[in-house]
């Protein structure tokens, strides 16, 4: 390989047919004279612009249709040299770092010698060792192209904002399950907003046996095994539900606050009493009507109860998860739109409350297709305010444009699966830790179940991994009409 050109942080390297390099590979451009090396990543492979190739190709089709048949007597065997030149490739590489004295730095302000530099491929384990991408809490993401494992450190997900995105059916949920299971293994507390009811059986193996996570998975289905005792509900949480999920106007919210406090002071906070108090409220008719309609929504959700015995599961789960690690899977599969928002508002409110009171140390929140249940103003809240309380969110979506720009800019890690749509790639390119060329070039060609990992977990060395399989019962398959139809021969 020969160094050909450098433009900004893009380097072009000439590669010959016997030197294979593919998109995603890392190369080291070493200049022994200055004892420095550039670490570059191949982001595109092109044909080298060798003069005369067009003529070479054209003359094989001189009559415009079938190749002319003939014999080449090539006594000096020059033909292999012609092929060698003709098949030369140009590796478009992105400079990732400078290696000097065994230490990596993000600088690319120097230029290695074009004639003297030695260029060689660098294996992923070698790079990971240099970049110190390992640690005490390893999570094996999967295998790399050179048959080594890509291992990230769980602590690099701690306190971060992550995005898992890619086309439908390329393995996003699978990766989020892998991350989730690994975190649980390290006794972390995980909360999942499970839109499609596919995380509840993580405690089971594919063949239906219990696995090591079985006792750490708490599947909570709103209105069934997951209810809230209204007496234990904090005013802030209920106001959050009324205002954010049920769009209660401010004036009405103030009136509700008085009613709530009155009942609380009297120790008579039940659903029945709350309904009665609203009906008898000495206030504007419109306010009363507004409060009454929200109250009925709360009651009709079936999520609230006066029975303390029915409402202990979340608290218990949190307690256990805090001790041994565990995942609270909030199953939103059969929950209506409004009820879904009520549940999410409650859970988030409860989490903040628990974190503020140090009932929980920190929570890893996995939110699948969050735009379906999170109000817009919540996005910033989650990534800024709630992060300080200890809620570390991972968004999972196949519609990257549903996540706000501000989220991308603050994302610490991006796990990117295949996208072919230019618009989707554009959106993902906005992430601060990502360069557009890498995303556009590599993500477009990712095969299914292969993920481009970007950001802190890989110390800003984008790496492609085939996400490893898990022996977990998968529930995320799409129900198919023709799946059971016998094939007609």
């Amino acid at each position: 390989m020969k160094l050909y050109k450098k433009d900004g942080n893009i380097m072009q390297i000439l590669s010959f047919p016997n030197e294979s390099a593919e998109k995603g590979d890392y190369l080291m451009v070493e200049d022994a004279d200055v004892a420095k090396a550039l670490i570059v990543q191949v982001i595109d492979v092109q044909f080298a612009a060798v003069q005369g190739v067009l003529e070479e190709l054209l003359r094989t089709l001189p009559d415009g249709a079938e190749p002319i048949q003939g014999e080449d007597i090539d006594p000096l065997e020059i033909a292999p040299h012609i092929t060698y030149i003709q098949d030369a490739t140009l590796l478009v590489c992105k400079i990732r770092a400078t290696l000097e004295g065994g230490t990596l730095s993000p600088s690319s302000s120097w230029l290695p010698s074009r004639s003297q530099s030695l260029i060689k491929k660098i294996s992923i384990p070698e790079l990971m060792k240099l970049a110190k991408v390992n640690g005490n809490l390893p999570i094996i993401l999967g295998g790399t192209k050179d048959s080594t494992l890509l291992t990230i450190d769980a602590s690099e997900i701690d306190g971060t904002l992550n995005i898992i995105t890619g086309k439908k059916g390329c393995g996003k949920s699978h990766l989020s399950k892998l991350l989730m299971a690994s975190l649980i293994g390290y006794k972390a507390t995980v909360v999942i907003f499970d839109l499609n009811g596919e995380y509840g059986s993580i405690g089971m193996t594919n063949d239906g046996r219990r696995n090591m996570y079985y006792d750490k998975i708490y599947a909570l289905t709103p209105s069934q095994n997951f209810k809230v005792d209204i007496d234990q509900l904090h005013l802030n949480v209920v106001l959050g539900i009324l205002v954010n999920a049920l769009h209660l106007p401010g004036t009405s919210a103030r009136e509700f606050k008085h009613i709530w406090k009155g009942l609380r002071d009297r120790g008579a906070l039940t659903l029945a009493n709350l309904g009665e108090a609203i009906r008898n409220c000495n206030c504007n008719q419109h306010v009363r009507d507004a409060l009454a309609s929200r109250f009925h929504s709360l009651v009709n959700s079936g999520f609230f109860t006066d029975n303390k015995a029915e409402s202990t599961l979340l608290e218990d789960s949190m307690l256990k998860a805090k001790e041994q690690g565990g995942a609270m899977v909030i199953n939103l599969k059969n929950t209506g739109n409004i009820d879904r928002q009520i549940v999410v508002e409650y859970v988030l409110g409860k989490l903040v409350d628990s974190l503020q009171n140090w009932k929980l140390k920190a929570v890893f929140l996995f939110a699948e297709e969050a735009h379906l249940y999170l109000r817009e103003t919540y996005w910033d809240d989650i990534v800024t305010r709630m992060r300080h309380f200890g809620i570390f969110t991972t968004f999972i979506t196949n519609q990257p444009d549903t996540i706000q720009d501000t989220i991308y800019r603050q994302a610490d890690n991006i796990f990117l699966f295949n996208f072919t749509n230019e618009h989707d790639l554009d959106v993902v390119s906005r992430a601060a830790r990502v360069d557009a060329e890498t995303v556009r070039s590599i993500a477009r060609d990712l095969p299914p179940h292969h993920c481009l990992t970007l950001g802190r977990v890989v110390h800003d060395f984008p790496m492609v991994t085939r996400v490893r399989s898990l022996d977990l019962k998968t529930m995320g398959e799409t129900r198919l009409f023709f799946a059971q139809v016998p094939v007609i021969a």
Partner: protein, 360 residues
């Protein structure tokens, strides 16, 4: 990009479809090529040289040349006839401290049963020095043409003439082989049937034509450009607006010795394209067979801009591309340990931006 290079006249190939295995052609060329390259082992090499500028064969314009204005109409004869064409190319691929490194390649294309086929010979790379040029050229002349005066100072080309001389030799050799092995066909040469020059002695071309005739072949030479003029005008510019295809006869054409013309010269406009070519047909053949040969050519070959496809393919196949030149430079450096050096461009060095080639 096609490198500027010389295409010498056409050459034959063996009898179709099978080449003769016993032909002495490859072996001697190969031996000389390899031997010459051995001499440059572990020396330095300057690639990307300037193209060799050889004076094109200067046609002496005969004073009495007249072009008959009455066209000879032609009608294509579909009778199945084998067509064959030969062309060679040469290029200088670099310089060493003692000489030049050149490459030559020849191609024979034939059309039989409506299919074009080809045989390419080469590239052959030669390292030519002042010391070995006579031996290389002389040996080839002697081995293939039994030349008596090979190696003599009269016939010894200069170093810069060697690429075209060697290519010309290869081309005549391919033509000879083709004339011997083919029967009842049309053999297309690139160029004219003018001879008497150092690289095309009269006896050599005469022998080729005579061999072709013995095998009932007709030789037709196409010149892409001519300097022949009639009444001050290029003969290929004087095209009557008549229905194509047609030939225009010339008369009164003779050259001063030692130049000899072995063909009858025509101007051929072979399709509606407003392009005509000088056509030389073996003058030992009867006039009627000249017309028949061109009509068979019309009935058996495709034409682009009035130029036969078989000959066009021969040219295309032997021409060196820039990619191939790179490959040959790669070959000589890898196989023969020749170290590439880059001498400064003196024009650039002395004249800066005014030192571009072509702004002499």
């Amino acid at each position: 990009m096609v490198i500027e290079q010389y295409t010498i006249t056409t050459t034959p190939k063996y009898n179709f479809p099978q080449p003769t295995p016993e032909t002495p052609l490859p072996q001697r060329f190969i031996e000389l090529s390899i031997n010459s390259l051995r001499q440059v082992r572990n020396t330095t090499f300057q690639p990307n040289p300037q193209n060799i500028h050889q004076d094109a064969y200067a046609e002496e314009t005969p004073t009495q040349l007249q072009l008959k204005r009455q066209p000879l109409p032609l009608s294509p004869r579909r009778q199945e006839t084998t067509l064959a064409a030969v062309d060679t190319s040469t290029i200088k691929i670099g310089e060493t401290t003692t000489g030049i490194v050149i490459a030559i390649r020849g191609a024979t294309v034939w059309k039989q049963n409506r299919n074009y086929k080809y045989q390419r010979f080469g590239p052959l790379i030669f390292h030519i020095t002042e010391e070995n040029k006579n031996a290389v050229y002389g040996n080839l002349q002697r081995d293939y043409f039994k030349a008596q005066n090979s190696g003599s100072h009269q016939s010894a080309p200069t170093l810069m003439q060697m690429p075209t001389r060697l290519a010309s030799l290869l081309e005549r050799l391919l033509q000879t082989t083709l004339a011997k092995k083919m029967t009842d066909g049309l053999i297309l040469f690139d160029g004219s049937l003018t001879c008497g020059t150092i690289d095309t002695p009269v006896h050599r071309l005469r022998e080729i034509l005579s061999t072709a005739r013995r095998n009932q072949n007709t030789v037709i030479a196409f010149s892409k450009a001519t300097s022949l003029r009639s009444n001050g005008f290029l003969i290929t510019d004087l095209l009557p607006e008549k229905e194509t295809p047609y030939l225009l006869e010339t008369t009164g054409l003779s050259f001063k010795p030692p130049t000899v013309l072995l063909g009858d010269v025509y101007v051929a406009r072979l399709n509606k394209a407003n392009m005509a070519f000088r056509l030389d047909i073996d003058h030992e053949m009867p006039f009627q067979s000249h017309l028949e040969a061109v009509e068979k050519l019309l009935g058996n070959d495709a034409f682009q801009h009035g130029y036969p496809e078989t000959l066009r393919l021969a040219h295309i196949l032997c021409t060196f591309t820039a990619n191939e030149v790179l490959a040959m430079q790669h070959f000589v450096t890898r196989r023969h340990g020749i170290q590439i050096i880059n001498r400064p461009d003196m024009h650039r060095l002395l004249f800066g931006p005014f030192g571009k080639e072509g702004y002499a």
